[in-house]
Amino acid sequence: MTDWKSRISPSVNAIAPSGIRKFFDIAAEMEDVISLGVGEPDFVTPWSIRESCVYGLEQGYTAYTANRGLLTLRQEIAALQKRLYDTTYDPAREILVTVGVSEALDLAMRAILAPGDEILIPEPCYVSYQACATLAGGIPVSVPTRLENEFRITPAELEAHLTTKTKALLIGYPNNPTGAVMGRKELSAIAEFAEKYDLIVISDEIYGDLTYGDEAHVCFSSLPKMRERTILLNGFSKAYAMTGWRIGYACGNPVIISAMTKIHQYTMLCAPVTAQIAAIEALRHGEKYMKKMVAEYDRRRLFIYDGFSNLGLACFEPKGAFYIFPDISSTGFTCEEFAEKLLTSEHVALVPGNAFGKCGENHVRCSYATSIDKIAEALARIENFLKNHKK
């Protein structure tokens, strides 16, 4: 018998499969499950965006596009960055359209990391950050953040993990899974840190449009002197409810973007033309639909925060994305026990916090990308669960 596992590349064998799918099979079987485990909008893509894609198909847009993406789309992206953050990017040389932010992230890592290079990654964070770094031959270095600091990262915490091999820093705010955001002041401190140690900063801002409260989202590359050293990643999945379209982009200095484009042209060639056409429509006419969805998330955010606060589970008010990250250690369960028991006894699905890094151990991620009625029902079931499972 051939041991096929031994034939798989060691670097692939070394990475663990995403812990997020663990309860997926059990949950998928249940009829009346309420899921707070979904990391994507519950809205369907706004109709004007869908319609423009259908029209594009009718017009015969079915061919490859330029490797970097349709020029019109890159021009729209440049105009957006200028309008929102007063940052100028050259559509011809400094923007690359990718197959979701996931591809952009992979390209960024592969473009900059040499074997043995270390990249600082604050945790809890999106599940693919470490894996991408490892697959690119780099070494991901986890930097835990704390609930007491609302899961923001500080220069001191980063400095403690700095070595001579540290080459880059990867930040993702607003944050999945915690809902944390970093304001101008906190980000400026990180910018100073990056400048001091000459680090490249990959900033995943896919949830940037989903920022709530008084302070608007601050784009990292818009901070003084950061444009050159930042690889800005963003896309359409979350704000425009376009997850399945797979369309994202990277902005950065021409040397880095060219390097990423080189990998992209050999591995992906270009992002799907249909999705690029839809993305143009999203940027030209989609803002009002997006704002409406964001307003709805905002209501749910306050509702679910109020709910968890009343249940006595420690959490902070999330200011971004569509997640809340309550601390469940007072129940005496580990996060995995909590998630499993809640699913089997009350049919509520959520994701254990350790799927996003070790420091998420005492937490669970709850997505509020679902209707208020369902959130209310889920909260009632969790309340029931807490009553019946006192340890």
């Binding site: 995403s18 997926f24 899921s35 485990g37 990391g39 306050l302 509702f303 209310a376």
Partner: protein
């Protein structure tokens, strides 16, 4: 205030308790605000949108364009009032363009609606012409798609 109105417009059955949580305000405050909005006639009514066709009712809906001869002092308002006071009349709008009033009427049968137009509406002083259109099939009403086939296609758990 606008936020509260939007929430109620979307779903008038939300409890004060839920509204308070969503709006981050006290229940007392929300209750008082709703009372005031009702008193000011900003909130006019709490209707339920019903798919009567599906229920099995064969109501006839007619959309009628009405031309008027405006009257001194009161313009169109007095005639409009004479029209909208009828129970059969569901909606009345003053319009720009080739006719003056858009009147929507509901009745049990074609006959009943035709009869109403001929004997009650067309005979009102100041009404110079009417053109009736009968509704065949509703697709969307007050922002709600009648037979929405879109489903949630998402996986139960995703990153």
């Amino acid at each position: 205030m606008r936020e509260l109105l939007e929430l109620l417009e979307h779903d008038a059955r939300r409890s004060v308790n839920e509204l308070a949580a969503i709006l981050h305000r006290s229940e007392y405050e929300v209750e008082k605000q709703i009372e005031q909005l009702e008193k000011d006639k900003i909130i006019l009514n709490y209707n339920t949108l019903i798919n009567w066709e599906k229920f099995g009712d064969n109501t006839v809906t007619s959309i009628i364009e009405v031309n008027l001869m405006p009257q001194r002092e009161v313009g169109f308002d007095a005639i409009a009032e004479r029209i909208y006071r009828f129970d059969e009349v569901r909606t009345v709008y003053l319009m720009s363009g080739s006719f003056d009033l858009l009147v929507i009427i509901e009745g049990k049968s074609l006959q009943e609606v035709a009869n109403f137009v001929a004997t009650r509406l067309a005979t009102i002083d100041g009404v110079t012409a009417t053109r009736s259109h009968f509704m065949l099939k509703p697709y969307k009403k007050d922002g709600v798609i009648i037979n929405d086939k879109e489903r949630d296609h998402r996986l139960v758990v995703s990153p």
